[in-house]
Symmetry: C2
Subunit: 234 residues, 2 copies
């Protein structure tokens, strides 16, 4: 990628290719052509399509149709379908991890911090179903594409070290029991938060939709917090 200062507007709002645009944030403002905007637009649509239909299920023609540009441009910028998928996956990870960085835990007491981390993660996953689905898809492909992205791997170690400091503080304070690897705490939080979104459809299909209601989600959110806090308690 190495695109430099690209404003990565994955969402709808992005630089327009109108006659002129006096905005400052957009690079090359005023241009009739807007390559970076086109790239971003393609990525956003691709993310949506791959997330909905899977890698082999997504159709390049369909992606192209939903884009502001043409199929030709997709190949021009991304080469082929798999590369596009990989770029979309990377973009999704970047966007999500970026959201996670806003979370400040160091000023809170360990238990409160952990509580907040759990609830944040739960909500965060819930609010990013497209990302969750992409990860599911990636798992079905045995992580073959994630493997190719050096960029993504580095992003994730940070999440662990965040827990590491938090947990150490808790142990020092005597409120957390010793001997748990931070990675396993992360695993625990992830497992429940992820499953809640990833398996929502089959679960509610098999056992009824009650856990997907506002009340149900509230209860699960509380359960996850409770389970994690009790897990680390002395």
């Amino acid at each position: 990628m190495a695109g430099g200062v690209i404003a990565f507007a994955l969402e709808k709002g992005m630089s327009m290719s109108g006659t002129q645009a006096p905005d400052k944030g957009s690079p090359r403002a005023g241009w009739k052509q807007d390559p970076e905007g086109v790239r971003a637009n393609i990525l956003a649509i691709a993310l949506e399509e791959f997330s909905t239909n899977g890698l082999s299920g997504a159709r390049m023609d369909e992606i192209a149709a939903k884009t502001k540009t043409s199929k030709r441009m997709i190949y021009y910028y991304f080469g082929d379908k798999e590369s596009l998928y990989l770029k979309a996956l990377e973009a999704a990870y970047r966007k999500v991890r970026q959201g996670e960085e806003e979370l400040a835990l160091d000023h809170l007491p360990p238990k409160d911090a952990l509580e907040r981390l759990v609830e944040f993660t739960f909500d965060h996953h819930r609010n990013n179903p497209a990302f969750i689905r992409l990860v599911m898809i990636e798992n079905i492909h045995h992580g073959r594409y994630l493997e190719q992205s050096d960029e993504i791997k580095s992003l994730n170690r940070a999440a662990i070290s965040k827990i590491e400091t938090l947990y150490s503080r808790g142990v020092a304070d005597g409120v957390f029991r010793m001997g748990i690897e931070p990675l396993r705490i992360h695993w625990l939080i992830s497992a429940m938060s992820f499953f809640n979104v990833s398996n929502a459809m089959t679960f509610s299909m098999l056992f009824g939709p009650e856990l997907q209601t506002a009340d149900g989600q509230g209860a699960l959110r509380g359960d996850v917090r409770e389970a994690v806090l009790r897990f680390v308690a002395v």
Copy 2:
């Protein structure tokens, strides 16, 4: 999930279509033609292929090639691709749920029973990755096919009632706290056991393979048991 010589026995007893087979369980033993065997063979291969490649990723020609029979036969018995997928999904569920019924919990004290249920579920999921993958795929398709199967839905309510009696006993004995819906306990156990298999690839890709080693899995198994027991403890 050894992919070698197929002995899957998905349906009623199947038999080889060799020159002759003097087995007793097999219907129409000694026949040159063996329709049920062919059906079962197709289903077994289809399950494997769909589980590996997804619904749109799986190729009918590939399935046919791996079968003892021809593509024509697949359409003869199953109609089209989606129907075959549905039947494979049903067969997978049937096989898995069947294994679950062997678990006897009523004679154990509540805590031991729950412990055993958790460990059983954890192991069971771990030992049925193809099934897990099919469920993932089904979730990506929004449960569209699971929805069509009345058969599967009925199978699953049993799992809940098993927990229900177990939990009630625990509450009566004063070892479990009150006010938890059995469904949420099932959710908790499922979430962790499922995630452990479903997200194994991406997780170990991002955070290292240590949780997938024998030791790592042992630790996680203990964690899940611990988390559930602590969750329901008074």
